[in-house]
């Protein structure tokens, strides 16, 4: 049975924690929603509930890391990144301590919870702090690979996870990979938006249009080597973001040196979020798979029009 990615994370940490005594998990009174309970149930002696106190939780985690522990602090992405931003800045980013911050319920699909519980610019605020890696798993295998690779790192990490359980992506997990054949017009995605892109890919396939998805498991940092390698034959990138367009993956790609045509399909910048089913809010934001597929077709048509020589008779038809 599919379970929320937060629970996949907590479960895998519990598995690893059986042989790694340095692993601790902290939580801000959301353990049953964000997945920390999966660790707490197995290793109660290495679980700390801070209660509804995200700032204290982050600083506690930093203090533990300063004494040789590997703390993983769980909450909703919104409360973790925004409520405790100064603590992340001062006690984690500036100290470079090995604290891993797990932000569940990231993105715009918050269900009934609504706007206060959404994280629509968490990548922007976290990527602009030095020393913090950002990971955005899209399925169970992504979570497990992310956990393994993060534990090999020595510094701060932020993981953002979608609210709901996610089906398995095709193929084995890697930090960056193509889903489907590489294509010159490509979708680029991470986390839940990769799942949206996969359904759009299927819709396009039914119309005889083959579009590859460049899936990012680690969103930040990005190396120019990876951009050169993966975008070599991409003439147009539609970056599908479970995030505002500003400060998301498209911006990070541009910042790192991607110079090809690139546009972001994300949550409307004027929208603070609202309650609703995933279909409702995605429909409002034109991020449904059918919307993404239509957007790809328009991009394709637009590029084909630009390639045709100007013909007066066609212009007046």
């Amino acid at each position: 049975m599919l379970q929320k990615l937060g629970h996949e994370c907590g479960e895998y940490l519990a598995e690893i924690g059986s042989t790694d005594p340095s692993l601790w998990v902290l939580d801000g009174d959301l353990a049953d929603s964000d997945g920390a309970e999966a660790f707490a149930n197995i290793h109660p002696d290495r679980f700390i509930s801070a209660g509804v106190a995200e700032q204290a939780m982050v600083s506690i985690a930093a203090g533990m890391a300063a004494c040789g522990c590997r703390p993983w602090a769980f909450s909703f992405a919104s409360f973790l990144c925004y409520r405790a931003y100064d603590q992340i800045r001062v006690s984690v980013s500036q100290t470079k301590l090995p604290v891993t911050l797990v932000g569940a319920y990231a993105g715009g699909c918050g269900g009934r919870n609504g706007k206060t519980h959404l994280a629509l610019n968490d990548i922007a605020v976290m990527a602009t702090l030095p020393n913090i890696q950002i990971w955005a798993p899209a399925d169970r295998n992504d979570v497990r690979l992310a956990v393994e690779l993060i534990l090999q790192e020595a510094g701060p990490v932020y993981i953002r996870l979608p609210r709901l359980a996610q089906p398995a992506l095709p193929g084995p997990a890697e930090p960056i990979r193509w889903i489907g054949q590489p294509s010159s017009i490509a979708m680029v995605a991470y986390g839940a938006s990769t799942q949206w892109a996969i359904r759009a890919q299927e819709l396009l396939h039914q119309q005889g249009i083959e579009i590859g998805i460049l899936h990012f498991l680690r969103v930040w940092p990005i190396s120019i080597t990876d951009i050169t390698k993966f975008f070599a034959n991409v003439t147009y990138a539609l970056v599908v973001e479970d995030h505002y367009p500003m400060g998301g993956l498209a911006d990070l790609l541009r910042h790192t040196g991607h110079s090809g045509p690139i546009e972001a399909a994300g949550w409307p910048p004027f929208w603070a979020g609202q309650s609703g089913s995933d279909l409702d809010v995605l429909g409002f934001a034109k991020l449904r798979s059918s919307d993404l597929a239509s957007r790809i077709i328009r991009i394709q048509d637009g590029l084909m029009i630009k390639e045709r020589p100007f013909n007066i008779s066609e212009a007046h038809s």
């Binding site: 601790w24 700390i48 801070a50 209660g51 106190a53 700032q55 204290a56 939780m57 982050v58 600083s59 506690i60 985690a61 930093a62 203090g63 533990m64 890391a65 300063a66 004494c67 040789g68 522990c69 703390p71 100064d86 603590q87 800045r89 001062v90 006690s91 500036q94 100290t95 470079k96």
Partner: protein
């Protein structure tokens, strides 16, 4: 030479070093550095350095959460031989290894970074959890700092988990940067009913003279045996040891002095009774 007299000589020497350093550095937080000096000196001299090898994993740890008094921490560490080659006059200088607020990535002997008030107690609580109660963790905060909500978030958690190896020392100098002097109808002190507040959060409390070595040592020993997380309310004077500073805590919260003002301070230190 009895221990108390030696401490007062140490306390004077550290204050001279602070005044000298801040003048050469172009200014700084004089008042708060002076009020916390004896707390730090007694803690390091009487407790932390008595515990054995300071490089061992389960040594005591100290967090100066009121990080703007960093020069006091650096001066105490240097006076006790823990920063032997450090030039205190490079305080706040680019590349000088003595950041304006304590930086654990820049200065040996600094157990945790600080500068954004209110965060040190939680970091200390994390250390207390991590070392599984085998070390004592000492966090020094200001009374103004206790206006930060995170202080009380952390107090709740520490009490819930009965973290008895976590000890907070409040530099209770009854002053902060600006305060409420613009409206005398309002309570002027940063924090009132301090013992009652912390006790209501489940902490053990003791109030002592924050400039008396014996009182401070006694409090530290009491804290080490407490079953609850403990807070020592150290009654201090902002600018302690310099009469002009004690008379004008607002000016000396953070300031730059002229050569003449600097010389006056040095003269006052010569005449002062310190650490009695």
């Amino acid at each position: 030479m009895d221990v108390n007299r030696r401490f007062s000589e140490d306390a004077r020497a550290v204050r001279v070093a602070i005044v000298d350093a801040l003048f050469r550095a172009g200014g700084g937080h004089y008042g708060g550095a002076m009020s916390v000096t004896d707390i730090l000196l007694a803690l390091y001299r009487g407790i932390v350095c008595q515990g054995g090898d300071l490089n061992r994993h389960n040594r005591d740890r100290v967090i100066l959460s009121k990080g703007h008094a960093a020069i006091a921490l650096y001066a105490v560490l240097k006076h006790l031989g823990l920063l032997p080659n450090m030039d205190l006059g490079r305080y706040g200088a680019f590349g000088g290894c003595l950041e304006g607020h304590p930086d654990m990535t820049a200065t040996p002997g600094v157990d945790f970074s600080s500068g954004s008030l209110g965060q040190g107690i939680a970091a200390g609580l994390g250390m207390a959890f991590a070392c599984r109660r085998k070390s004592h963790i000492w966090v020094i905060v200001g009374d103004g700092e206790c206006q930060e909500g995170q202080v009380w978030e952390t107090a709740l958690i520490a009490a819930r988990y009965s973290v008895s190896n976590l000890h907070v020392i409040i530099d209770n100098n009854d002053a902060q940067e600006v305060g409420w002097s613009y409206d005398p109808r309002l309570e002027q002190r940063p924090l009132v009913n301090i013992e009652a507040k912390w006790q209501s959060f489940g902490w053990a409390t003791m109030t002592v003279d924050g400039h008396n070595y014996d009182s401070l040592l006694n409090a530290y020993h009491w804290a080490q045996t407490s079953d609850l997380p403990s807070v020592i309310i150290a009654k201090t004077t902002k600018g302690k040891g310099l009469s002009s500073m004690e008379r004008d805590p607002v000016k000396f919260h953070c300031t730059t002095l002229s050569q003449e003002e600097h010389q006056l301070l040095l003269g006052e230190l010569d005449a002062a009774e310190i650490g009695a």
